[in-house]
């Protein structure tokens, strides 16, 4: 047993010396390999963590939101719809929501104005998200002036600023009183933005959504599960430009690795020939090549994965930020809670380490089984 271990250690020593002889080639391979794992790993960690975060945060979202469509567009809903929805069996409560968007030309950004049902701000006062405060450099008691629907400027005093920890949901929020909201947007007292409803039995949610659609054909119910699924699809592994770019990088790497791994150089062939000539067995030669592939791929995998973890969870995926921010002026400053799916790590390992290791073995086996004399003559 100890002989076997000693033999393998000696083969490993030889493999490492062999790798060191071709330092430049192997270091470049290690760097490219680590980079590919880093990019793939970063995308994987980011999407998984964001999907988890979205599902945990939105688990408290309204059970059902009922919108009204007019001419194919999303329009304010008449408040008399409320009673009709409440009368549907299985609906516990229904209430209206008031929210809308305001484009602030001074900052060049969009805000989400909203009337909270509980503890709304007093008239003339607003509570703003930390993103707005940061962007406009606002503090409590500062005055903001916005142009209303009729061209008249409305002044609002900043009453409070929402906590920075909640930026992922509140960066661009501006909480306002109902009176101010209606005055500002010119919204009739008989209309609201949409309606939220709660039902007695969660299993009946789809049935009740169907009933609402039948009773009020110009409405569109959106249930909570769909809101969460929206973010699943946004961060889905399959979707998005990141993945397209990564696929291209992956493809380039596959070609690069295949070329490096499968095509043995004349020097490597001669080395194999000499080893065979001095008495090495074919299995030993294959073991050297397997170790070579395994060492490079394992260390590249670990380096790439650890860097990806640091990138996503310590620097909030700063490399992905430009892609996510797009033209957004207000972007939440948030720290992603780490979430690692071991299954995905294993898949990444199998997709990167195993093919490369396998690709190095086949050509060396081919060289190892031919006559050493003819290999050395090449």
């Amino acid at each position: 047993m100890s002989n076997l271990i000693e033999k393998q250690r000696s083969i490993l020593d030889f493999t490492l010396s062999s790798l060191m002889r071709r330092k430049a080639k192997n270091i470049s391979l290690f760097l490219v390999y680590s980079l590919v794992v880093f990019v793939l790993g970063s995308a994987m960690f980011f999407t998984q963590a964001m999907k988890r975060e979205a599902s945990l945060i939105l688990k408290e979202a309204p059970e059902m939101v009922i919108q009204r469509l007019l001419c194919g567009r999303y329009e304010p809903v008449p408040l008399d719809y409320l009673e009709r929805i409440k009368n549907i069996r299985g609906v516990i409560s229904a209430d209206y929501r008031l929210w809308g968007y305001y484009y602030d030309p001074a900052a060049g950004s969009n805000y989400t104005l909203m009337v909270p049902r509980n503890n709304p701000p007093a008239r003339g006062k607003i509570v703003i998200g930390n993103g707005i405060a940061r962007n406009r450099m606002l503090y409590r008691e500062d005055i903001l002036s916005f142009r209303g629907y009729n061209g008249i400027n409305h002044n609002f005093e900043v009453d409070d600023i929402l906590s920075s920890e909640s930026e992922l949901v509140s960066a661009d929020l501006m909480l306002i009183s109902e009176e101010d909201f209606r005055d500002f947007f010119g919204l009739s007292p008989a209309a609201a933005t949409d309606i939220v409803a709660t039902v007695r039995n969660q299993k009946e949610l789809i049935t009740i959504a169907n009933k609402i659609s039948e009773l009020l054909p110009d409405t569109r119910p959106v249930i909570r599960d769909e809101m969460i699924r929206t973010y699943d699809s946004v961060f889905d592994w399959r979707g998005g430009i990141l993945i397209v770019l990564i696929s291209m990088a992956m493809l380039s790497f596959v070609i690069f690795a295949w070329e490096k791994a499968s095509g043995l150089s004349a020097e490597e062939r001669r080395e194999i020939g000499i080893l065979k000539a001095i008495g090495w067995e074919t299995s030993d030669v294959i073991a050297v090549k397997t170790y070579e592939g395994a060492i490079i791929s394992f260390f590249s995998f670990c380096t790439g994965l650890l860097l990806a973890y640091g990138h996503v969870f310590f620097t909030s995926a700063f490399l992905f930020a430009p892609a996510l921010k797009g033209w957004s002026v207000i972007y939440p400053d948030f720290r992603i809670t780490p979430y690692i799916d071991p299954y995905q790590v294993v898949v990444l390992f199998l997709l990167t380490v195993v093919p490369y290791t396998a690709a190095t073995v086949v050509p060396s086996w081919r060289s190892a089984i031919i006559d050493p004399d003819s290999v050395m003559r090449l």
């Binding site: 979205a54 408290e60 509140s170 959504a209 994965l305």
Partner: protein, 112 residues
Amino acid sequence: MDNHKMIPDSARKSNICMALFGVCLLLLGVMFIHASIQRRTGNAGTEHMAGLVKNLELTDLCLFTEARYTRNLSQADLHSAFQDHPSSLEHFPAGSVTGPPAGIRRINVKLD
């Protein structure tokens, strides 16, 4: 191979390689442990945001504030990009990382 007996064990390349292998495995282990600890401590922040979502009846994350239909993805018009037809070309960069919400489209086919 007997030559190795002349070299002290600590200087053998295989030993250094195995030590590095161990360090890598250790770091991977630390990564999983760190994630698990952070998840436990980070829950307070997530719960705080979930509380805000419940209190304000929010429906979406504030990730893409560039256009109204990217700000509240789950509440967007069915065919919001260019308002023309499903999956029509998107002119905001957010459109390159978000797709039309498939779930909404599916249920509305049934409901509308």
